[in-house]
Amino acid sequence: MKYIDEFQDPELARRLLDDIHATATRPWALMEVCGGQTHTIIRHGIDQLLPDTVELIHGPGCPVCVTPLEVIDKALEIAARPDVIFCSFGDMLRVPGTDRDLFRVRSEGGDVRVVYSPLDALKIARQNPDREVVFFGIGFETTAPPNAMTVYQARKHRIPNFSLLVSHVRVPPAIEAIMTSPSCRVQAFLAAGHVCSVMGMDEYPALAERFRVPIVVTGFEPLDLLEGIRRTVRQLERGEHTVDNAYPRAVRAGGNPAARAMLDDVFEVTDRAWRGIGTIPDSGWRLSARYRDFDAEHRFSVENIATREPAACRSGEVLQGQIKPHQCEAFGTTCTPRTPLGATMVSSEGACAAYYLYRRLGVTPTKLEASPVA
């Protein structure tokens, strides 16, 4: 497949790795923001092919993982109502709420449906005018424009039985929260490429300057990650801290203006709680006043819900890069993808799930011997 195969080429990967090995002379800690990047890194063993001095810290960029427990519980309550068809992306099904998950709600008679696109949920609303259709609108800046377009169309075409349960999050405030945390070890960021496909790069120079960290916009194939790492290490070694675009085939400086305009219309910035981390100011979006009628929280009055996280789960520390998943005592014992204690063990972009899938057996490629893209 074009734009995938060429960016997995083992020979070019070796050249990039050689260059990183030749460049890195001191210890550096880089954070990859996006869970999709964590997945590629662990799957291809990229972290183990890097020089020992270059550490990758996995960031909080898994939307499934950071959706607050309180919102999951709201989703479960709405989904259990007999008048509701609850539509969601598939990887939310097994995310544990306080005492159950969406999968369980479905087995208990709830009408929970998995859709590929939010537009599919709108179609279901059109086809079922006598039912309430709720879409679970989670995700970062990448997923917010599709959800925004769907609400926009529901309003335009007057589809009153559609609503959105919104829990959108934004990357730049999370970077700020990580950098101002007292235990922060992060010295540079690989910014999430597809977030920047939408938002462009305008928000990053101020962060790079304020915290004196290189921020390199990075893609998702193995060569994209190696190139992001290579450029970051180069900046670190030279004492630079600029915003750089290592993913130009999919990221323009201004992002996608049409999508940004739609976001400004449909959403407004709000404080948002991140699961395991806590509330980060201005880190999320909610529906703007014009679209409030389509807000499922208001429609179903689920505003007041008390929640409790399992004590054993250390996903908050995992999400902030303070521990690696296998350092959690529950990892692979009481917590597995079949019996997840935390959301980071559920989603394929969650760090715990990635480690469970690819690291549990202790298969570790030796440096330069194994191709990173076997």
């Binding site: 070019l12 939310m92 997923t143 169309q153 190139e227 049409a258 972009e349």
Partner: protein
């Protein structure tokens, strides 16, 4: 779900006032909304996420990026570690043993 993947536009049509495309993801075909990249043409590639094209994939940038990687290798051969280069040619890896011998020989 966060994953966005490249796909090739094979067909475009207006549906209920919305610009939609049929997009091929290496054999898997899906309906994709083009409202955010309305000038995308048949035969072009885009980054697609949950049924929406979010950005056109730029052929020229992709080509330049790959060319840069190729060049890296050449510089490496010019200035790089000759042991690694020789080992790569021989299809083996310069393990610590090789390096130790080399250091031994220098003493």
């Amino acid at each position: 779900m966060c994953l966005a993947v490249p796909g090739k536009v094979v067909d475009i049509e207006e549906r209920d006032g919305t610009r939609m495309a049929t997009v091929d993801f290496g054999g898997v075909v899906k309906e994709v909304c083009l409202e955010y990249v309305p000038d995308l043409a048949v035969g072009e590639y885009a980054i697609v996420h949950v049924g929406f094209a979010l950005q056109r994939l730029d052929e020229e940038s992709a080509r330049q990026t790959l060319a840069l990687f190729e060049e890296l290798g050449l510089l490496q051969e010019e200035f790089g570690d000759p042991w690694e280069a020789a080992a790569a040619e021989a299809g083996t890896v310069p393990g610590p043993a090789v390096k130790d011998e080399a250091q031994e020989a220098q003493r």
